[in-house]
Each structure stands twice: as C-alpha cells, then as structure tokens.
Symmetry: D2
Subunit: 397 residues, 4 copies
C-alpha cells in the first residue's frame, strides 16, 4: 500500500493544478535564460502579448511572479486604504476570505452573502451599492472552485462600473470557461492563474488592469511601490522600461508561453465551449448515478469543476483515497468550510476532454462500488457518452 | 478537420507503439553520451542486467539496435542454411510472414496452420515433429497482435526442446503479459520489443539466446558475422569484450533502462496480471455491447490487444478515424489479411490500466453511436467497471 | 543580426540565473501534481529535509513561493515595526536597497557603509552596536553580486548574536560558496535562492529561520499573518499542519528537489571549494590579461561572480553584446549604481567548472580583441589553466 | 574516483555521438505516436522533405532505422552479387572495412590504398578504373573519422560517374562539413548519420539514392527485398505507398526532425563554414602547442574531428581518461589500427563552436600538464582565439 500511495497518479483531475499538456511540460525543458538575455526579453514581450489575446483585452496585463493569491492580495494592498469601503460578494470560501485582505489594508467591508451552493444575484449588488454610496470598490469571485459554482460576473461588474466602482475579480478558475473581455464585462482588475482552466503550471498570477485601476492605485495615500505585492512596480519597470522589478521565474514563463499559445491556437470561444460541454456531461453522469450536485442549480455550476454531495454511507476522504490509491486518479475533496461535504471532479485544461472524463467517471463508479454505494454500473459514463453527442461539431478535439 | 487530423492524439492505445510513461520519456532527455564513455558502458551493462531480470533468464541477452523484425530476421539468418528444415507455426499474419525469412536463407518450411482467429494446438506440433524428424528448428509467434490471439508457447516449445529442436519465439507483444522464463518454457531465441507490453519506445530488439542457440549459430556453414543481422557479432563484441559492433542508439538505450526499471519495480507477475485483468474487462465490455470478439474463444485472446469484429453498417476505417479525429484516441484497424475485418483496442504498457480502458471504451461507444451502430450506451464501460472488482488486490495501480 | 540576437545563447554565465544541470531541467518534466496529492506531500517533505541539509541547519526552513526578494521583504515585514531600529550594513546595491524595506515597515535605519568595492569591517559593526544599544535587528548581504564582493558574515553575525540582535542575511548568492550553518554563524534569518550558486531555477526563496526569529516575529505588534509576505503563515500551515497557505509552484519544487539532491550529493564543502577554485582561476586570468578586478582586494572577491572594471576604449554594453551576440555567451554588465562600470563573469552552479570558465574566458578574450582592447591572446585562459593545477584533488569534477 | 567515473561528462566532444542541442533533446520528449497515426505520417513526410533539403538533392531519400552501418551494409547487400567488381578506396579504417561487405555479398574487390594519414588521389582512381573496365561500383569514405582525414569525394565520384560506375559514399561524418549535392558530386548512394556533424541522436541511417542506383538494385540477380537490409523495401513501401516496412523508431524520428530543422535553419553552407572555421582554429592550437597533427597535411584534415599524434611520455588512454575523469570532457582515442596512436578532438554539430573548442582546448592543455607534457600554457587556446578573428562575419553564432 505504501508504495502505491507514494507513486505518481495516472491522472490529476483535481480542482487545480491538473494534468498539463506535453507541450507545456516540454517548454520548461528549455535552457534557463538570464532575465536580461535578449532572447528572454523578446520571449517575455511575446508572453505579455499572448496574455492580452487570451484575456481578449487591450488593457495592460501584468504577470506577477507567484500564485494567484499574490495578485489578489496585491489588488487589495494597492487599492484599499483606511477609509476605503469595499462591497465584498460572498458565495463561497474564496469570496469569504477576501474580506481578510480588505480589513488587513484598512478598508471597511460591506457584504452581500448567499449560501455556498448559490450564486450572487445582480439585483442584490444593485441594492447594496444604492444603500452604500460610499462604496468605491467591489470584489467578487468568478468561479468558486470549492463549491463548483459560478457567479454572473459580467452583469455584476457592469452594474458597478456604471456607478464608478472599481471591480476586482478573482477569475482564477474562470479564465477559459467563459469567453469575455474585461472591457465588455466591466472588470478593472482581473486575476487569473495558468494552472486551472488554461491547463498550465502553478506559480504565476495573470492580471489585467484597466486604466481606471491604475489611476486608483496611484491616487491612494502612499501608493504601494517597492514591494513584492506592488502592481505599480511592474508598471514602472516592465511596462514603461522593459526592466524587471526582480528576477522573474524564467522556467514558469516558458511554460506560460506554451500554455497561452495553446489557448490562442484553440481559441478562447472554443476552449470555453469545451469546458461547458464536458461539465454538462459530468453533471449528466452525476444525475444518472442518482447522486446530488452540490450547486443548487445546474445553471450556476462551474464549468471547470463539478462538486458532488457525498452519498450516504461513505465520506469524501474515502472516495478521494479510493480513486487515488486504487485507480490512480486524483480528484479533490472539499476545502475550507466544505471539507467533508463534497467531492470535486475537476475537468480543467487538458482534462476537460471526453477521454479524461470517461476515465474519471469510470474510476468514480468503481470506487463508489468498492465503498458499498449502490449505483447502476455504467450509468454515469453512459450518460456522459450520451450527452456528448455532437461534441465534434461544437468543440475542438 | 485538417487541423484536428494533424494534431497529436490524446491517447495512443493502438497495437503498439502505445503511450509510454512520463519516466520513460524523461529518460530520453539525458544528454547523449559517446558510446565508449565510462558512464555509457556502465549504463549499458545495467540495462543488460535489467533485461535478464525482465526475461527472468540466466541466458545471454542481446539488445539489437533496430525494431524487433531485425532480431526475428537475424534469428533466421543466423540459424537457417540450405538444408535446414523449420517447423513454422501459423496462426496469424506474423507467423505466416516468418516463412519468408526461412526460405530467404535457404531453409525448407514445414507448416502447421490454423485459421487466424484460432491458436496452435500443441498436439499438432507433436504430430508434425513426429512426421518430420528432419526438423531442427521451430518458429512460433507468442501473441499474434494482428488477430489479438495468443499461442500456448510454453507447451509448444517444451515439446520441441524434448526433441532437440531449436525454438525461435516472436514474443514481441508477449513479454509482459505472461510471466515466463525461456528456460522454463524451452525457448532458445526469444525476441521481444520494448514498445509493446513493456510500454517503451520502438527501435530496439530484445533477445534472449540459449547456449544451444549460440552453439547452433556457430555450427552452421558460414556463421553469420560482420553484419547488422548478426547475433554472433554481439556475442564476440559486447558479451565477450564489452565493445560494440557499431554505435548503439544511445537515447533509445536510456529509454530502455527506464522501461526495464519500471518493469522490475512493478514485477513481471504483477505486470502480467495487470494486462490480463484489463483485457478481461475489455472483453466483458465487448460482450456487453453485443459485439463479437475476433478470437474464437476468450481463452486464446491476447492480453495486450483486443480484436473486435467490425459490426454491420460501418467499417474499421470509419471507427478508427472517428475515435482518432473526433475524440483523440488512436486505436488500430486490421493489418495484413485482417485489414477491414477488425478494430483492435490496445491495452499495453501504461495503457493496460482502468483509466485508459474506460477512456478508450467511452470513446469507442461514442464513436459507434456517431456511426449509427445501435448499442446500449454505457453498457461497455459499465461491464468493464464491473469486471474490475477486486483490481486493487490483484494488480498494481 | 536580428536572428542571432533572437537565438538562445550557448552558455549562460551571468550573475544568476545561470545554466542549470540537465538533471534539474529533467525534473521539471515530471507531471504536475495536485498539491495535496500524497506524492506531492511526500516530495515536499523531502525537499524541506534536503534544504536543511544544504543549509547544514537544524533550524526550521521555509520555501517561499517567489524569488528571494520575496523572503527578504518578508523578513522586514515580519520583524520591523514602528520603533524598531535596524543596523543595515551597506557594501553594495542590495545592502543599500534593504533600507527601503526597513523604512517601509516603519523602522529606523542605522547604517554602516563602505564603498561598493569594499567589504564591511566587523569592527565597525561592533562600534555601531555599541553606539546604538536600541538596535534589535541587523541586516547584511553575504555576497554583493553587483560588486562581486563578499562580507565576513560569520564574524558580523556572531557579534550581533552576542548582543541579542536578530540577524537577517541575504545569502542569495552566498549559499554554496562558503560552507556554513546559520547556527555556527549566528544567522537568524538566512535567505537564499536556488538560481545562483546552487545552479537551480529561479522562482523560490529558501529561508532558514531560528527559534529566536520566530519568537521575534510573534512578539511584534500585529504579527504578519494572512499574507503572501508572511513567514508565520508557513509555520502555522506547513510546519505545524502539513498544509499549504496557498498552491505552491509545483514544477519549481520538482526542480528544487533535483537541485538540492545534487548539492547534497556533491557535498556543500566540495561545492564551496569548487566555486572558490574557479573564482581564483578567473581572477588569475583577469590579472594576466592586465585588467583590473573591481573588488579592492582578492580576499573579498565573491566566489560566484568576478566583477571586472571596464578597460579603456570600450564599454560594458559593448563587451556584453559582443560576447552574447557573436559568441553566444551571456555574462552580466553592471547593475544599479555600477551600471557601465563593470562586466561580471558568472561562475555559479554548474558554470563553476573549468570547462565553462575556459569557454567564457576564451570568448572574453576574443570579444576584447574584436573591440580593439590590447590583450595578449591566450594569457587569460592560460593563467586559468595554470591556476587550476591540483583541481582534481580538491574538488569534484 | 569511482563516483566521478560514473558521473555524466560535462561535455561530449568525441568522434560522434557528441552533445546534441537542447531543441533536439526536447523533441524526443513528444509523446510516442503509433506509426500510422495521421500525425506521424505527416511528420515523417516532413522529415523526408527536410532530409532532401539537407542533402540538397532531388534524389529519393530513405531513412533506414539503424545506425549508418546498416545502410552501408545495405548498399553492398543490394548492389553486390557474385561477379560484381568493386573499386574500394582505402585511406582509413572504415574504407578498409568496406571490403568485408563487398566480399560477403560475393563481389570482387579492386583496391586503391594510401596510408591512413593520407587522402585518395583522384588520379589513382582514374588509373584503377582504366585498368579494370569490369568495375561497376566504387566505394569511398568521405571523412575517415578514425584518422581525422577527408577524401576529395566530389572529384572521385565525378570520374566514376563519367564511366557509368555506381558510387557508394560513406559520408557519415561528412554531411554538414562540406556543402554538396549528390547530383553535383556524382554520388549514387550517399549514407550519412544524424549523430555526427548534424549534431543529432544516433540510431538512424540517412540515405540519398540516385535513379541509377535504384535501377542497379532492381537489376541484380535476386533483388534484395523482405529484409531489414533492404533499401528496395523502403521504395515499395514508404516512397510508393506511404506504408512502413516495419515500425520505425518513432522518438528517433522526432529527434531527426529537430536536427534537420536546425540544419535547414542554419543553412548547409553556413554549417559547413562553421565546422571549417572551428577545425582550422583547432589545428592552429595543436600547432601552437608544438604537437603534431595526425593527417599528413592540413588540407586533408577533416572539419569534424582533429586527430593529434600522441606526444612522447604519455598515451592516448591517459589523455582521454584525464580529460574525462578530472575535467568532464569526453574526447576519443584512436580506433582500430590507430588505437594508441592518436587522440581525437571532436568538433561536430553543436560542439563545432568557439565555446566548446575553448573549453576542450583548455582542458586538453590542463590534462597534458597533469601528465607531464611540456607545453606553453595558454598557447593552444590563444592560437584558437587568434584564428577565430572574423568568426562572426563568416559563420552563424
């Protein structure tokens, strides 16, 4: 048992990171470059350009050298000062957590909160903004990966923009599952990560920053500069001078180039459609197995990750361990307040594909049987096979 | 369509080569060495030692620097001379083909032949040997990959050995699906390849040579030396002097080391059990889908590759193309005389695993539906899920 | 010209990152793991253990997920509060810069400063500490890579420790060039990076933290928690609960494991000796070419990077570009206030080796000739060849 | 000592294989494909097309799946029959060896022979052909790597072609050091390998076949078909039907694609010039060190490999071992009849570059000093630095 536990999994279909493509892995094999090598400067420039294509934006983009929580905190650290009032929308663990940074940097929190299997209603945002005209910033999570839910970020942010409120969106696992641009949706700071639906390697924050957001950062008291948390440092170094504030993670940048190239090559629309198709098939499987989706309604389910309520007689831990240790498939259990309540079947990046889904569902069925959960064998995979009729016409293979 | 055709598949589950493990791929990333570098000499020695472990033999082993047909021809070229009579057993395309080499090197062929969905009956071997006392060599294929069938090589070769007949076995896709040793089975020359059930990279022949076989090669008129086809060259160079007859394929040797290490680490018994479990599950799926196995009986089906008769209303080409082009799974159609008659679902090496099987079967079902074949969706994968009850106790994850 | 500029260099022998070993590159080829996969948890544990071996410490170690400036700022952010007085030692660009973080987090700076081609005199530290009994923290840079100089950190920190002053050492390019332990030298927070003399990949901070440093962080007003800059988060998550504060940079951790394994395998003493041998040979070459070392004395020259004053008639930029664009060798020019004044020949990690040194010096000679600098051809490499007599006895090949 | 011996070298600058480029190594990281996968068929087609570009030919090309001796023997096996008279030109070990295959396949050998430090005089070829009008085939080695010499193949083959004699040229280490086309030089069968001056991975034969050669193969008695040694098999399978005679070495083909792409990208003229520049600099170094070039004259020295006579007081083995074991540089000693007489400094493929040359020469000097050979330190590298003046104008960096 020890040996099998220690071994690498066959497939990583968790809530991110997930399996990355061979091309992305290969990209990290390129010799490490000195960051001021002309080849690296050109490559970094190209990566920035690809990132704008993937964000479908003409805003500036910044690649912060740390996992997305770095940029999420950086946004708060750059925009929030004592006296700032922020409307923080909470539909899950990450939304809830953002209040901590707002308070840490001295801000006041106004909260709109829904149960963790629900999504934020744009009407409630309107009401909160009307009730609190002092609100100057709004923070919201696009996809709440811990709950497998998705908020209507476009509607929400357009409401805020119309009122001159700066919007900060955690779209870490949202970029790639809906085709949007920050401009169209009214997002001032969009924070994504390569290791979720883009199918890349963790270690970087991908940020799109609107002119209004830059202006707001520069207008606060004591603008944040000279810090690992500073977005403005990247503006004054890379964007304005083609210098780096410090040594970037060279190999991760190589991987990011490959990840973004693949996204551009596939097309963001097609990538989003692919995630939506596979997620719909996963939900069909869950229903056919007689299990319960965690999100209250199918329409608010996240396309990157299907959260399933734990069936009676077993536990999240048992399911995760059985799938991983007996059959080599790594999925995620619950996180934060949802620990023990859900198991999450990831289908992000390269794993948002029928092959990975069938493998995952087959192993899920087998593991449930092993654990004594009564299911009709093959019903889950069968429903997914059924639901994917027409796949080829809608999405890239 | 062009673009999708051009793209790499998601999974290669054909009749070999198949997907190799990440560790094997990584091994080829090691810097190329000069073949007389001390590091390479040590490594080659280690590979030879690992190969003996995998063959479970104390016989000499030779790694010829070309795909297995090189060693199969080399065996004929080394042993057959005008006047040599060879009993050639034919239960499929490769068995049939071996007669060509026997004749090319001047030998007489005595043939025992069965239909290509059948296996050789050891009794018929006995009868042929009794009828032809002039026979000095026997050639047989362990697994006929084109037909997805398997011959009882152990029984056959022991019969031959008892009569002093030299046996040459094409176990190219047989090594790893049954746990055997050449000594126990009476095999004088066993020829395998890394790219089938060991899950390695094509380009090398793995050969185990008994003392009797060496003696026979040295006794023929004009023993074969000074040729790419010569086994004796490897004896007089590597085995006796730690020299190479010519530059070996350095990177392929790196890959082979990794492949063999993984085999030894898993254990040949467990590897064989793993293939047998997955093949049984594949056959259960075929039956549940109402399709017909190509081999006449389940007992003679090869554990590395399940050959399925083409259902009415479609064709092998259509199935292969639909699976590959729409869903990214590469399987094999028929080969040689079986072209158009079967589709072959490979489960060799790393693809002999429930995850790969479920993915393959789900895509197979989806493709059949696309092509208008009436199947009960989910029945195939469901039967495989069912059949794999107990997997963890019998085989490594 | 454009094409050549765009091309990858043959060798990266700059001030870090430098060329990494093939084994380190290959490690990043391993499939990305979910961070709570049992395989990743085991691997992370192993990396932490290897890091303690490399630091030769029994202190806790923390791997922060960003380049070393993250941990350097984190140390200030964790320890400095309004009212804290810090003795900041300045012998170069990085020492000078540290004052910025001290002030940013509210501290008072007492400074001991020497010219940028000099090293800090421990006596001056003693005097400053005596004159300012309110000092509770000291910050110093081990190797000032921009100047190619090295401070006597062991002597300095032991003086501070005797007075109960917490010491923070930037040993980013110092780990691996002298064999030391934080305990023996009296270092409370040692911050290193994989991408300098360990020869690894940039993107992580390697930190050794003494019990006294932990206590100090916990005693300040409003201890830093819940932030990307927090060291305490790592204590309460990984060290105490085997949880991560956020997703770590999985592939960079793979690379770090390989980097640390190589260091442990070589031995830190031998690694340090190797850097010292190669640096001595580089200095011999500079002298033989009639050029001027930037550091005032050979004894204070850094073993990882030889800074050379720019000879008359040319410029740092011209030398760097000629070496890079014509001969494919990337070295560094000056940085910060030393821009234009020096060229820096890096010999860190795998490039701290005679082969890399000879290549670099040959190209340096050729480039100087191309730029019209009068040198005696071969004198530099010849002196290095001479100086390396006995190499094999002292250092690993 | 054992540990160091076992370790990988830093640089492989032997007589081939040599260090390959990172891009070539990375190419082998691509997932293994089934050989009839549409992606592989397209890729193979592309490789064939690139190979014609590298050979600068419109002749058919064949990629045989084994190191170049396979194709060299295949040429003899395909063309030579009892009664065939072949003019075999011998200026070194490989030329001498070719007679073995001619005789093995039943031919008569007419020989022109020169000492192994000399080159064949085209006049002697003319005389031999005039004296033996029965000669229908000529065999010659382009670069005799064991001797570090080069024959005037263009002049020789044009003489043969004018007389209707089929020419077979071993240009294994010649492709890439002179820019030629088989058509221009009159070569009917040119056999090269990826692992020499193209800087690729060993394991394949690269063959260009003229229409006259195809015709000759088809006209002999019992044309060679159905064999690993058959060139005609490739004609009737790949060239005429896009089928493979057997499973090709998939990963080696990936590497070959990368190798050929790099060659085409650099340009064959520039690649040849690069080798010639570096070889000239190597010879200048040897002269400056007071050592003796093995080839009788500089004009006949091979551009890929400089053979140096062993100086008194030491031995080839001692030099090779000192360079390898103490300094990590692998070069070659003598081979065949030249064993013990020469040491060979390889500068092929990526190692045909100033950086690699300076590293190699510095280590060569250091090793000679270690062995007590009196040389002027730095004289060798200095002469090479001198000789490379103008490098940038003539050759790619």
């Amino acid at each position: 048992m020890t040996d099998r536990t220690r071994a690498w999994p066959r497939m990583t279909q968790a809530s991110g990171p997930v399996d990355v493509s061979p091309d992305t892995l290969r990209a990290m094999q390129r010799p490490v470059l000195y960051h001021y090598d002309p080849a690296f400067l050109q490559l970094f420039e190209r990566v920035v350009s690809l990132l704008r294509d993937v964000f479908q934006t003409r805003h500036d983009v910044v690649i912060m050298q740390g996992e997305a929580v770095l940029a999420l905190e950086a946004a708060a650290a750059s925009l929030v000062r004592p006296g700032t009032t922020v409307l923080n929308l909470v539909s899950g663990v990450f939304g809830d957590g953002y209040a901590g940074w707002i308070r840490k940097y001295g801000g006041e929190v106004v909260e709109v909160r829904v149960p963790y299997n629900e999504a934020i209603d744009p009407e409630s945002v309107k009401m909160a903004l009307d009730a609190h005209p002092e609100i100057s910033m709004l923070s919201v999570v696009h996809c709440e990966t811990p709950s497998g839910t998705m908020n209507p970020v476009g509607e929400i942010c357009r409401i805020a923009r119309d009122r001159g409120v700066i919007t900060v969106v955690d779209t870490v696992s949202g970029l790639g599952v809906e085709a949007y641009s920050p401009e169209a949706w009214g997002i001032d700071i969009a924070v994504a990560g390569p290791q979720k639906c883009l199918g890349g390697v963790p270690g970087l924050s991908l940020v799109a920053v609107s002119p209004a957001a830059w202006a707001a950062m520069e207008c606060v008291e004591n603008p944040l500069r000279g810090s690992y948390l500073s977005l403005l440092d990247w503006k004054s170094s890379w964007i304005e001078q083609r210098r780096f504030p410090y040594t970037p993670s060279v190999s991760d940048i190589f991987a990011l180039e490959a990840t973004l190239e693949q996204a551009v090559c596939e097309g963001i629309d097609r990538m989003a459609a692919r995630h939506q198709w596979v997620a719909a098939a996963a939900r069909a499987a869950i229903a056919a197995l007689g299990l319960t989706l965690w999100p209250a309604r199918s329409e608010i389910a996240a396309p990157g990750c299907t959260a399933v309520a734990i069936p009676g007689g077993t536990s999240a831990d048992e399911i995760v361990h059985a799938m991983r240790n007996r059959y080599g498939v790594m999925v995620s259990g619950g996180y934060g307040e949802l620990a023990g309540q859900v198991v999450r079947l990831g289908h992000m990046g390269p794993t948002a594909h029928p092959t990975a889904l069938f493998a995952q569902l087959g192993v899920f069925e087998r593991a449930l049987l092993d654990l004594g959960v009564a299911i009709q064998t093959g019903a889950g995979v069968g429903a997914a096979v059924e639901r994917l009729a027409g796949w080829n016409d809608a999405a890239a293979g």
